[in-house]
């Protein structure tokens, strides 16, 4: 293996079943059900997936859900806003911990 990430892995995702076909089958059935049209539309779910993909920084998911978002009818502006939502939550999540820091400083300082 010459690299950690390989684009060919994405279309071969089902090979994960080699080690445990039963768990793979359960996972893929669940996965398919999650993304089906439901109370949220398939387009909305793809946008959420795109945002989460950026949060977990998974290149496979970014590849897959960029395509999926376009195919479900989202455009670049909408997709960029979704990525900013992920970014804002990540940034905000760091920053809110600043209050823990502040409490520590206030407790320890004079």
């Amino acid at each position: 293996m010459s690299e950690y990430y390989n684009p060919d892995h994405l279309p071969q995702f089902d090979r994960i079943g080699e080690g445990s076909p039963e768990l793979a089958e359960k996972f893929f059935a669940y996965y398919g059900a999650v993304f089906a049209e439901g109370a949220l539309s398939a387009r909305e779910k793809a946008l959420i997936a795109l945002a989460v993909a950026h949060t977990v920084q998974c290149p496979y998911c970014i590849d897959a859900y960029s395509k999926s978002c376009l195919q479900q009818g989202s455009d670049l502006e909408q997709m960029t806003e979704a990525v900013h939502v992920a970014t804002a939550i990540r940034g905000g999540a760091s920053l809110i911990h600043g209050l823990q820091m502040l409490d520590q400083v206030n407790k320890l300082g004079m």
């Binding site: 398939a42 009818g73 502006e77």
Partner: protein, 357 residues
């Protein structure tokens, strides 16, 4: 996709001829895809030995390649420079005589921008007089040209269904595919159609939007997409319409050129082939439609027309509208090739939209 373009013919581009387009498609290595990228094999594998017509329902007339626009994805290679290829009055009369011999209930008029043909209004009038449902495939922007200002009202008085191209309900994507400013002009045109009663649920004034993917991916088939479009256009532009049809882009003419230039050709063809959906075959438009070219030649569909793949009798003769005999059509086999995977990918794609949901 944001650069404006001109017609392949005007540029003398390599892909300007149907032969070059067919050769380009044939040269793609699809040996690792399902059915090795062979459409006939895919049909046979799913129980279709041959593709044959059903009852003729739609009489489609392509009145010419002249267009006020030059969209990047155009499978007709239409444009303002295509002034040679336009149907004359004689051929239009041949079409009407042929129409009278068929059971077709709908006449689907396309182009280019069909309104630019000098005999367009005559053709529509004649079809309406015959009690046919008439569809005008309209690019919207043409309605803003001064000599077409009265068209929305003129259509409304005749119950013409207006089927309009709008790649996306948001500006960026529409302009990327059809040229800067197209979206705003399209919205103005849609408002004019709304103002005379189109797009408000009246079957006599049906306003249909056609969406093509802006890029190398498949058309969405979800019912929720129509709701999103309706809500989006209503909220931001106060525009209403009756239904949305999503079509895949066909790997023909300028879209084929874009696929090649953008490095997407191989993967797009793999996507089309691997998304082959046997459930779409039954409803393919070539089965219930006849397509007449500007010069009167008869084809199985508008795509075959652009690739110069003529309808043929079992004896191998090509067909012309001047010598129309319904039986010739009934007996024929439909000619298929690689581009046909564009019609069967995913939920499928025909001039009427998704073939199965």
């Amino acid at each position: 996709m944001s650069q404006p373009t001109t017609s392949l013919v005007q540029r003398g581009a390599r892909l300007a001829t149907p032969q070059a387009q067919l050769a380009t498609l044939a040269a793609i290595d699809l040996s690792k895809t399902r059915h090795q990228g062979n459409f006939a094999t895919a049909l046979v594998a799913n129980g279709w030995q041959t593709l044959t017509p059903t009852d003729l329902e739609i009489f489609q007339i392509n009145v010419g390649k002249l267009c006020n626009m030059t969209c990047r994805h155009c499978h007709v290679d239409a444009g303002p420079d295509r002034i040679q290829e336009n149907m004359n009055r004689e051929t239009i009369d041949d079409c009407l005589r042929a129409l009278d011999q068929t059971p077709a209930h709908t006449v689907d008029i396309t182009g280019g921008a069909p309104e630019l043909n000098p005999h367009f209004r005559y053709l529509v009038e004649q079809c309406v007089e015959r009690g046919k449902h008439v569809i005008d495939r309209c690019n919207l922007t043409i309605l803003l040209a001064p000599r077409f200002h009265d068209l929305p009202e003129w259509f409304a008085a005749r119950g013409v269904e207006v089927v309009c191209s709008l790649p996306h309900y948001r500006q960026r994507n529409t302009d990327a595919q059809r040229g800067d400013g197209t979206f705003e002009k399209s919205i103005v045109a849609l408002r004019r159609l709304n103002a005379v009663g189109y797009g408000q649920g009246d079957p006599q004034k049906r306003l249909t939007l056609v969406a093509n993917p802006v890029g190398a991916f498949l058309a969405s088939s979800n019912a929720s997409v129509e709701q999103e479009w309706k809500a989006g256009l209503q909220k931001h532009h106060g525009v209403t319409f009756d239904r949305l049809i999503a079509l895949n882009n066909m790997p023909i003419a300028r879209y084929l050129e874009w696929l090649e230039e953008s490095g997407n050709l191989q993967s797009y063809m793999e996507l089309l082939v691997n998304s082959f959906n046997p459930g779409t075959v039954d409803g393919l438009m070539c089965r219930n439609t006849l397509s007449v070219g500007w010069d009167g030649r008869i084809f199985d569909c508008d795509f075959n027309q652009m690739l110069n793949l003529e309808s043929r009798t079992p004896e191998g003769h090509s067909l012309h509208i001047r010598d129309f005999k319904l039986q010739d059509l009934v007996d024929r086999q439909i000619g298929v090739d690689r581009h046909c995977f564009g019609c069967t990918a995913g939920a499928g794609s025909s001039c009427g939209g998704a073939l199965c949901m």
